[in-house]
């Protein structure tokens, strides 16, 4: 893993609508930003939870769906050349400077290191993490026999693998692991699937030719010792309880939001939210700002438009840290030739 250190003005944690628009407001003030997000794509909840759902309360857009909003924000911040670190979770945050001259070092689980003058936490509901089914003792097997994602296909060579779920993740891994694994068993609660029809058809063909198994039911128990599985207990649709012998279990139940490592950064927290003022959106740590759904203040509304406003105000204060010598003159994009030059329209 390289120890190359990226140096920038601001690291934004979370590439949802609030984090994306913060790039715009910072960019107008000549402040460069890197964005880090645990999802492999930008847009946060808008892109992950409701890309096709209409949103009715974005000013100026009577109706816009989640993905359209994200696409437009991406276009809007493009002139400022933000760098995205996607599929990475910020693991640690070190304070290097002092309250007058803050400086931070951020490390992700992929080994990226960013040093910056300010941090903007725009992490919404927290980081998206795989849902863990409430099967007793599942934690004992995680990392050895139970996996919520596949990092290396080879790891499953010649192993018996039970995959649970009916979406694209479950079906994609059924098809990708089937040639490698000793035996794949897909378990799903019903015989219809959310996954792409061609994947479902390919799975049915494998079952028909005897190359894998499909069982209707739900996983209810685990058997094994020392973190190694020997069988998964299933309750079949008929109510019968059966054990399926297996080496590994891959449950795919979608994603949920957890606060994650943000809780360990020394920030004041109130019910898993970060309290801020309403003038600068600075947190209890000078140089660390927070905007969007993750913050709380009297009257706070979890609206996308509130996140936009909070980013604009935070940027004004961040300017003071990034350019302590420069006086900030407020300007409008409609009339300022210097802002228009930055936007590439002047």
């Amino acid at each position: 893993m390289s120890e190359e250190i990226i140096s920038t003005d601001v690291a934004i944690v979370g590439a949802g609508p609030a984090g994306l628009f913060a790039v715009f407001e910072l960019g107008l003030l000549d402040i460069k930003a890197h964005l880090i997000d645990i999802l492999p794509k930008i847009g946060g909840q808008c892109a992950e939870l409701y890309p096709e759902k209409p949103i009715y309360d974005i000013p100026g857009f009577p109706i816009v769906n989640g993905q359209e909003l994200v696409d437009n924000l991406e276009k809007q911040v493009h002139p400022f050349g933000p760098t995205f670190h996607l599929g990475e979770m910020v693991e640690s945050l070190e304070t290097l400077g002092d309250s007058e001259h803050p400086k931070f070092r951020v490390r992700t689980d992929a080994g990226t290191i960013v040093e910056c003058k300010c941090i903007v936490v725009a992490a919404g509901g927290g980081s998206f993490q795989p849902k863990k089914p409430p099967i007793p003792h599942i934690g004992d097997y995680e990392g050895r026999s139970v996996f919520y994602s596949v990092r290396r296909i080879e790891q499953f060579r010649d192993r018996r693998v039970v995959i649970v779920g009916g979406g694209d993740s479950a079906l994609d891994w059924v098809l990708n692991l089937q040639p490698v694994a000793r035996r794949i068993t897909l378990v799903h609660r019903r015989d219809s699937f959310r996954a792409a029809p061609h994947s479902v058809n390919a799975m049915h063909e494998l079952v028909a030719s005897g190359k894998m198994d499909f069982l209707l039911g739900q996983a209810t128990g685990l058997k094994g010792a020392d973190g190694r599985l020997s069988a998964v207990t299933l309750r079949k649709e008929t109510g019968d309880i059966v054990d399926v012998e297996t080496d590994d279990l891959l449950p795919f139940f979608g994603l949920t939001m957890k606060l994650g490592p943000i809780g360990e950064w020394g920030l004041n927290l109130h019910e898993n939210l970060i309290p801020t003022g309403t003038q600068t959106f600075e947190t209890s740590t000078p140089g660390i700002f927070a905007i969007g759904d993750i913050i709380t203040y009297p009257g706070k509304l979890k609206l996308i438009l509130s996140g936009f406003h909070e980013g604009a105000l935070a940027a004004q204060r961040i300017h003071h840290y990034v350019y302590p010598e420069k006086r900030l003159v407020f300007q409008y994009t409609t009339s300022s030739t210097s802002l228009q030059r930055k936007l590439g329209v002047g």
Binding site: Q45, P134, G167, R190
Partner: protein, 106 residues
């Protein structure tokens, strides 16, 4: 106004007023009912407002739509009485509805 009773997985019961026209999920959130997370805010996009409808109410409440059935794949311990509470509209017909929340949503 209608009444909705939420029973948690440990058996504790809470009966609250529900506004006709709102959803059972919104009723739960407004009344801080534990066991309903509703992460996506009611977009039928997360399956963290999963409830079990009491058997005597299943027929009146009705079956999940195709989209809701798909989303229930993300819920745990799904039963024939499972519904997403964001998709159950409060009407005068469901006055007295009883639902149970599962042990774990997300």
């Amino acid at each position: 106004m209608a009444k909705v009773t939420f029973i948690d997985s440990a058996g504790a019961s809470r009966t609250v007023d529900a506004q006709v026209g709102s959803t059972v999920m919104e009723t739960a959130i407004r009344n801080s009912i534990p066991g309903i997370d509703a992460e996506c805010g009611g977009a039928c996009a997360c399956a963290t407002c999963h409830v079990y409808v009491a058997p005597e109410w299943t027929e009146i409440v009705g079956k999940p739509s195709q989209m809701e059935e798909d989303m229930l794949d993300f819920a745990f311990e799904v039963r024939p009485t499972s519904r997403l509470s964001c998709q159950i509209k409060v009407t005068s017909q469901i006055d007295g509805l009883v639902v149970t929340t599962p042990g774990k949503q997300g």
